[in-house]
């Protein structure tokens, strides 16, 4: 047991958050040739490999059924793998499972708490499962429930909480043993914008304090805003894995929607750009990598078209994501044909 009474040891890194001693090239998470075939024959993971560096904020993206939740389930020992290796801060889940588990905090996609239990008991019980004595657990519970604005509701059963509060409670529960790796599986699904933004701020703070975070989300804006690395998984294979900035640079074309001061009767001809008039009178202009926004405005000025405001038609990452996923499907169909 460590001096502060925390028994859930995540050794090797001699962890105190924000001050890790990292052994050699050890990753926060390292996955090699991970495969999962369910008893019904569905091959959810077809041999994926990826590493997450300590301190990273990592997005694992993919369409529904891509294999994200299966991968997370295996990392957290909720799903048995078929083959492959998973190491968490150097601890192999096959040979050093308890130490590996002690390093992870999980916020799952589905609610998985006893709704009849009080908010405080849910987090203190979780601390107990990690060997944290009750006195220490109560102190930590106050800290995290305060931070996640649930302290006033601590004596209420979890079923009395709103959807957003339940999600925050799952985050507090996942953090109670102060894990070095926090995995969040769609933590902001169904949460309103204000709470989502406050959750983003909170996650950025704990990441800045040293916690490695892996996030899956359907809100690609969320991934773009928070994450420094991204892996895109589709049909059980990783189809992209790079720094967020590198991935976004791959975007060869962006489409902007312009509000115009004077309505146009038809789409203007803008040399070097594709322009289309929308039903609501706004103008869509596609800008490829060879042109800048200045070029576009120059072309509009030349035609005396005044622009009031401008926005992206789609989130940049969303656009790339769709292109990658659809491109892969088309490629597979071609190969099959």
């Amino acid at each position: 047991m460590s001096p502060d009474g925390q028994a859930a040891s995540c050794p090797a890194g001699t962890a105190t958050r924000g001050a890790y001693t990292i052994r050699g090239s050890m990753h926060a998470l390292s996955i090699r040739n991970l495969r999962k075939t369910y008893p019904n024959g569905i091959e959810a993971l077809k041999g994926i490999d990826f590493d997450v560096a300590p301190g990273d904020f990592y997005a694992l993206l993919g369409p529904n059924g891509a294999g994200k939740t299966t991968a997370i389930g295996i990392i957290c020992s909720l799903v048995n793998k078929t083959i492959g290796t998973v190491q968490i801060f150097g601890h192999d889940i096959d040979t050093d499972l308890a130490a590996a588990k002690a390093c992870i905090g999980l916020v799952p996609q589905e609610l998985n708490m006893n709704l009849f239990e009080t908010v405080q008991n849910i987090v203190t019980n979780q601390a107990g499962y990690y060997g944290i004595p009750r006195r220490k657990a109560l102190q930590r519970a106050e800290q995290y429930l305060q931070e996640l604005r649930l302290w006033d509701r601590r004596h209420e059963p979890a079923r009395n909480l709103s959807g957003g509060m339940k999600r925050r409670l799952m985050i507090a529960r996942a953090l109670i043993h102060e894990p070095r790796l926090l995995i969040l599986d769609e933590p902001t699904a169904g949460v309103d914008i204000e709470i989502r933004r406050s959750m983003w701020d909170f996650l950025q703070r704990i990441n800045a304090a040293g916690t490695t975070i892996i996030l899956t989300t359907h809100y690609l804006e969320e991934a773009e805003h928070l994450c420094r690395h991204v892996a895109i998984i589709d049909k059980g294979t990783i189809i992209e894995n790079a720094r967020m900035s590198t991935i976004l640079r791959k975007l060869q074309r962006e489409v902007f929607v312009l509000s115009l001061r004077e309505p146009l009767a038809s789409a203007p001809v803008l040399p070097g750009f594709e322009a289309a008039l929308r039903a609501d009178g706004e103008l869509e202009v596609a800008v490829d990598a060879d042109h800048s926004l200045n070029d576009m405005f120059q072309a509009l000025n030349d035609r005396n078209i005044a622009v009031v405001s401008l926005r992206n038609k789609a989130n940049r990452l969303e656009e790339l994501f769709m292109r990658l996923v659809e491109g892969k499907s088309a490629g597979q169909a071609e190969a099959a044909g």
């Binding site: 909720l78 130490a99 998985n112 979780q126 601390a127 004595p133």
Partner: protein, 257 residues
């Protein structure tokens, strides 16, 4: 294994189970007391007066240890099966599965929860029995050890039932079609010496017979079977059921895909 971690985790599960039992006392503690009061009134008082002595004791005295043991067994089983299956059904079993505590700790914590509820209900039924008859414990050590061992056996059996259960029906099938018949045929209400020889021999295959009789021996000093045999059988069940529970949990049967 990190012993201090697992000790704290064990205390946490036990605390959680006690909180659960007390939170829903109307479902967990109260009904067995009512049921056993009815047994004492109907079987002990009304019908028992016509039956006369059994094993040298009046009928009420004779059935009291059996009824206490019956309530301990059913409540130990019921607590673990409903708590663990409830955790599976509500998916909050994942709280334990993602943690570094050992599978043995998960089993021991739930068994302890079953033991505590079994003993609480057993104590309450004893108080009820005292309102109807005298209960003098002849062999306290045998009485206590047998109630603890029997409670452990059925808490473990409840745990295995919960592991395999996929729906709520599955946690009532075993208690209804196996546990209750075995309990009723386990010598709670009669001495097996009253049965024809064939049925006497068949009764010896019923593990509950050994528990009830050993417990009755502890309380009254009378038993249909050898106490040493009873201890051997009950201990064997504890070891085998714990090993089976641990193997199932280690393989993730019923809890991991």
């Amino acid at each position: 294994m990190n012993l201090s971690l697992n000790f704290v985790a064990l205390k946490t599960i036990v605390r959680k189970e006690v909180v659960r039992v007390l939170r829903i006392w109307v479902q967990t503690i109260f009904p067995p007391a009512i049921t056993m009061t009815l047994y004492f009134i109907i079987f002990g008082n009304l019908i028992g007066r016509r039956i006369g002595d059994m094993g040298g004791y009046d009928y009420m005295q004779y059935i009291a240890p059996g009824l206490i043991m019956m309530s301990v067994i059913t409540n130990s089983y019921g607590n673990v099966v409903s708590s663990f299956f409830g955790a599976k059904f509500g998916r909050h079993i994942e709280e334990m599965l993602v943690s570094p505590m050992s599978n043995a700790t998960i089993i021991l914590g739930h068994v302890a929860g079953g033991l505590i509820r079994g003993l609480l209900v057993g104590a309450l039924v004893t108080v009820v029995a005292l309102a109807f008859t005298r209960v003098e414990v002849r062999h306290p050590l045998i009485t206590l050890s047998m109630v603890l061992l029997s409670s452990t056996v059925f808490a473990l059996a409840g745990f295995i039932n919960a592991i395999f259960a996929k729906k709520f029906d599955d946690i009532s099938i075993i208690p209804t079609f196996v546990l209750t018949p075995l309990t009723y045929l386990g010598g709670v209400f009669y001495s097996i010496s009253l049965l024809p020889e064939f049925w006497q021999r068949l009764s010896l295959a019923n593990p509950i017979l050994y528990m009830v009789n050993a417990f009755r021996y502890g309380v009254l000093g009378t038993s249909d079977i050898s106490i040493a045999t009873a201890y051997a059988i009950v201990l064997l069940f504890v070891v085998v059921l714990f090993a089976v529970s641990l193997a199932l949990l280690n393989r993730g049967i019923g809890i991991r895909e």
